[in-house]
Amino acid sequence: MSLLDERPLDETPVPDAQDQEPIEEQVPFRPRALVRSERVELMLAVASGVTGSAVMCLLFDWTHPLTFAIWALLLFLGSTYLLARDSQSPIVATDRLVTTLVWTSGGIAVSVLLWMLGYVVVKGIAGLNFEYLTSDLSKVGPLDEGGGVFHALVGTLEQMLIASVLSIPIAILTAVYLHEIHGRLSGIVRFVIDAMSGLPSIVAGLFIYTVWVLQGRGPSGLAAGLALAILMIPTVTRTAEEMLKTIDDGLRESALALGAPQWRSVMQVVLPTARSGLITASILGIARAVGETAPVLLTAFGSSSINWSPVNGPQADLPLYIYQLLRQPNPAQIARAWSGALVLVLLVLILFVLARVIGERGARVRGGSR
């Protein structure tokens, strides 16, 4: 303790040490920050990329902005390398090129996502209002204004609830079988789960269509929930298994050393510790299923009016709603489809945030600070 107290502090002098000599304030510097010459080189590279690409576009009469962007990027990377090689050395230049490449790749990934989201927001925000969210399409003619998404929203929520209730417990218990029990059939189960994760969604839809819808039960939200559950199980199982792998074996041993049978060790120690990861696994599964169109088309058929009952009669859901409206020729329908896409994106966003909040709160209450 005394050693710690007497050690001079690097940046901030002790504020209440009045009996000591005033210590001169130190100026911190950040060794990893860009120095001025590097900043100049960066700006030069950007400038040469932009101007070079602009010149090429004028010369060759290219008009598409994407062409301009791609050439600007390539010229920017090239001049980054050349400038660094000139001022420093080939090794430094390669290092800088790779660093720049990594940064740009991250930037491209984020900007494509933002571009897409922005597109959906711009196209969909105009039609999004209270009436849109609370009415269906049953009384709206092809060219009419109004109408809404309520029936599809209800359908999506009911079908996702059914699919989640059916698939998440099975998937998590399967993950427990694979990683905690190490059952004799683990190899086969894992192979089947892997094969299932590559299953085209329309095949799952066809399967339920044949064994459920065509067997006199007719289309329903429940049938759609069954098809979506088939799609969710592999995703949730494999992610949950990965999450269980991150749990320290010492915790399992400690639980067993306290005299626990294995099922109690799993229920009281392993699963609560993996809680946040298991929520993530479930959310990934839901995110996979919520955007599916084909299986819902084959099992719930879609509808333009509200159907509260998930077990009886055709039901709409959001992806199907978007798909069906986008194929209509009139602009009012297409605008509704865009608003539907925005509602779908917002729904997924809300689910993600909700799951994070639940997971974090559990971790904070029980796990303490870290």
């Binding site: 400690s254 306290l258 005299g259 626990a260 120690v269 809680r275 559990g362 029980r366 303490g368 870290r370």
Partner: protein
């Protein structure tokens, strides 16, 4: 102390063992028990890692297992509460008796063995999803027991583990918020809460600083009055400080299984060993 056999041992041989074991569960706290290992041999697959080790761990005493790395100390320790068999390819021969009852016999289930013979591991590992108080009580829920006054039990176990003063005002915080040494004492308190007769410790201080180590050594000395302790350690000063009896394990040459070279009172093993190999090891002239 060593010559006085606990009444339970006498009863054990005289009467039906089933009756005795339920009687044991009823009385609380248990006090200490003895473990007698005879000709214990352990395998991982076809590899024999330990051969014909016999050792008596007396009630109310601290037994230290010393020896170089890879000599089978931890394997021996883990065979004492049936943790060895958690490795799928593990096999074992010989007998291990807890107060005269073979822990590998059909009368004893692994869960019963483990709740009577507790264990503290090398790496402190409180359950991250539980608060400090819940960590102490975890063993009750995990082994299907209950206690009429959990709060009192938490305080009692934390006091015995020497941690109460440091955490009494934050029992609801997470176990992971403690320092390494505190976490290890929390693990000791957790092991004590199920009232084991024996406590096995697998290098409990190897991840800790000297101050935390000293606190845990004090805890061990206080606990050994009521509980039998077996401790694996690489630190020979620690073995001298905490143990009454000492067993020296050694692998003769590479590929051989580990054997017990010498076992006896700690003072004798360290000051007047009968085997030259023990002398070389405890005086640091090894290899």
């Amino acid at each position: 102390m060593t010559t006085v056999e606990s009444p339970r041992t006498a009863a054990d041989t005289a009467t039906n063992r089933q009756v005795v074991s339920s009687e044991l569960l009823a009385e609380e706290p248990h006090g200490s028990s003895r473990i007698d290992a005879t000709d214990v041999t352990c395998w991982f697959g076809k590899r024999k890692v330990l051969e014909r080790c016999s050792l008596s761990m007396e009630p109310g005493k601290v037994t230290a297992l010393i020896g170089p790395s890879g000599c089978g100390k931890s394997t021996f320790l883990r065979s004492l509460n049936r943790m060895h068999e958690l490795v799928p390819v593990a096999a074992i021969a010989g007998t291990i008796e807890l107060d005269g009852v073979d822990i590998y016999s059909e009368e004893m289930s692994p869960t019963e063995v483990r709740s009577r013979i507790g264990m503290v591991f090398q790496k402190p590992n409180p359950f991250p999803a539980m608060s400090i108080a819940d960590n102490v009580l975890a063993g009750l829920g995990l082994s299907g027991m209950s206690h009429e006054d959990p709060k009192a039990l938490v305080e009692q176990c934390l006091r015995r583990a020497g941690l109460w003063a440091e955490v009494s005002d934050r029992l609801d915080e997470g176990g992971m918020s403690l320092s390494g040494g505190q976490q290890q004492r929390l693990c000791i308190a957790r092991a004590l809460a199920v009232h084991p007769d024996v406590l096995l410790m697998d290098e409990p201080c190897s991840a800790l600083d000297p101050i935390s180590t000293r606190v845990i050594e004090q805890t061990i000395r206080e606990l050994c009055e009521e509980i039998t302790i077996v401790i694996v350690t690489h630190n020979m000063q620690q073995a001298q400080r905490v143990s009454d009896t000492c067993a020296f394990f050694l692998v003769e040459s590479i590929g051989d299984p580990g054997r017990i070279v010498e076992a006896g009172p700690t003072a004798q093993v360290f000051e007047n060993p009968s085997d030259p190999r023990t002398y070389d090891y405890v005086t640091g002239q090894f290899g």
